[in-house]
């Protein structure tokens, strides 16, 4: 049976149910607001957002793999391309691009021109250290960890801080081979 071709991001996005992006944006804003009120420390909020993103990513990857039919990625380069082109499109409706590969092919930048999370958002002076979209870095980290890749995701550029785009650096730390909880010979 011929392998099912991976569906392009647009096709999947058109086939899933969608909600108005503004509701999404405002809900995310409400979350950040609550965190800032509860935790007060910007660093703590960053960490909490990352943790929330991690929890999401862990479950999101299942849906992603189910809907997109991508085959096992050959290397990290392909992984990054798939995340940017299919993953972001499928869930956020925007396409990201990949660039700035390092020499060994273990680190790259994912660049987002358009980000529904930050519509109408402006950082006040009291929150300058806040990575508003830190949930995204958690999502990527969580999703990749579920497919045996330990990564580190950091923000290089942030539009809310005055840059012209959002740039995430995804660095592959190591590939963790899958561990089976049972022994083969039993």
């Amino acid at each position: 049976m011929p392998p099912v071709a991976p569906r392009p991001g647009d096709a999947i996005f058109a086939s899933v149910e969608r909600v108005n992006a503004e509701l999404f944006t405002l809900t995310y804003g409400a979350i950040v607001r609550q965190l800032l009120t509860d935790l007060e420390e910007v660093e703590e909020v960053n960490k909490q957002l990352d943790q929330m993103g991690y929890n999401i990513g862990v479950r999101l990857v299942d849906e992603f793999l189910a809907k997109s039919n991508v085959s096992r990625c050959v290397d990290f380069k392909e992984t990054a391309e798939v995340i940017a082109k299919v993953g972001f499109k499928m869930f956020l409706g925007v396409t990201a691009s990949v660039s700035n590969w390092d020499a060994e092919g273990t680190a790259c930048s994912i660049i987002l021109e358009d980000n529904p999370l930050v519509d109408f958002v402006e950082l006040p002076d009291t929150c300058q250290g806040l990575y508003y979209c830190n949930i995204l870095s958690g999502v990527i980290r969580g999703a990749l960890e579920m497919v045996s890749m330990k990564t580190e995701v950091t923000w290089l550029r942030d539009m809310l801080r005055g840059d012209d785009a959002f740039e995430l650096q995804v660095k592959l730390l190591k590939q963790v081979p899958e561990e089976y909880p049972y022994k083969d010979d039993e």
Binding site: F13, L26, I31, Q34, Q48, L60, F91, L92, L123, R161
Partner: protein, 233 residues
């Protein structure tokens, strides 16, 4: 307020005598003072926000010239974007994931259900306030709008499968909890800021034939709203 959201506030700078405003600029929806010599006027024509800058006694400069100065880039970005992005969409599952994280986070912060519902409602209230400003509507209208039979001031909006409740299952020990509290908060926020103060709550209504109970948003308008309606005839 720490103003992480850009809210269009309208006050009018007329104490800076150097400003020469043309008629069309006489109703800015917002003004912001950057420094002693520079103010920015923002006004919206419902779909687009324009920023005109003035420095000293000169006439209005264009946006590009101000951006070129570089120092206010952070402020210009949000406001330069056109408002009419109402059609953009994200996937339902993305929203569902986000909402579930919101609920889970709040679960760790509170001890009982009522408090949890309250927090969700507050979050929804904030959303509702801003949704009103954006005049954003979902394509799908709610299943039905009914008037309550018992009291004059009660209205109900009911929906078979409320968006936020679709992906959430309630564990047994939280029997009465309803994530519709979030939506109730949104509705309350919209009504409050539109000048219709009301108490809004969400209820499960079991219906035969449907596996999951329907969710009803109950709106109870405050006394003054009814009096106003009576006066307006």
């Amino acid at each position: 307020m720490w103003g992480i959201y850009y809210i269009f506030y309208s006050y009018f700078y007329n104490n800076l005598g150097q400003i020469r405003l043309s008629k069309s600029l006489c109703n800015p929806s917002c003004t912001r003072m950057i420094d002693k010599y520079t103010i920015c006027l923002y006004f919206s024509t419902h779909t687009r926000i324009y920023k005109i800058a003035r420095t000293g006694n000169q006439n209005c400069k264009s946006i590009e010239q101000m951006i070129g100065a570089g120092k206010m880039k952070q402020y210009t970005n949000v406001l330069d974007r056109p408002l009419s992005k109402g059609k953009q969409e994200v996937s339902l599952s993305g929203f569902a994931f986000l909402f579930s994280e919101l609920v889970q986070y709040n679960q760790t912060q509170v001890d009982n259900i009522a408090e949890l519902e309250r927090r969700l409602e507050d979050a929804g209230y904030a959303v509702g306030t801003r949704i009103l400003e954006l005049l954003c509507h979902r394509e799908k209208v709610a299943d039905s709008l009914e008037k309550g039979t018992e009291h004059e001031d009660e209205y109900m909006i009911s929906e078979k499968e409320l968006l936020v409740n679709r992906f959430i299952s309630i564990p047994k020990d939280m029997g009465a909890f309803n994530c519709g509290a979030f939506v109730a908060g949104i509705v309350r926020g919209v009504l409050d800021n539109a000048g219709f103060p009301a108490v809004v709550s969400a209820h499960f209504v079991p219906v035969e034939g449907l596996q999951r109970p329907r969710t009803t948003i109950l709106i109870k308008f405050a006394e003054e709203v009814l009096q106003r309606e009576a006066r307006l005839g």
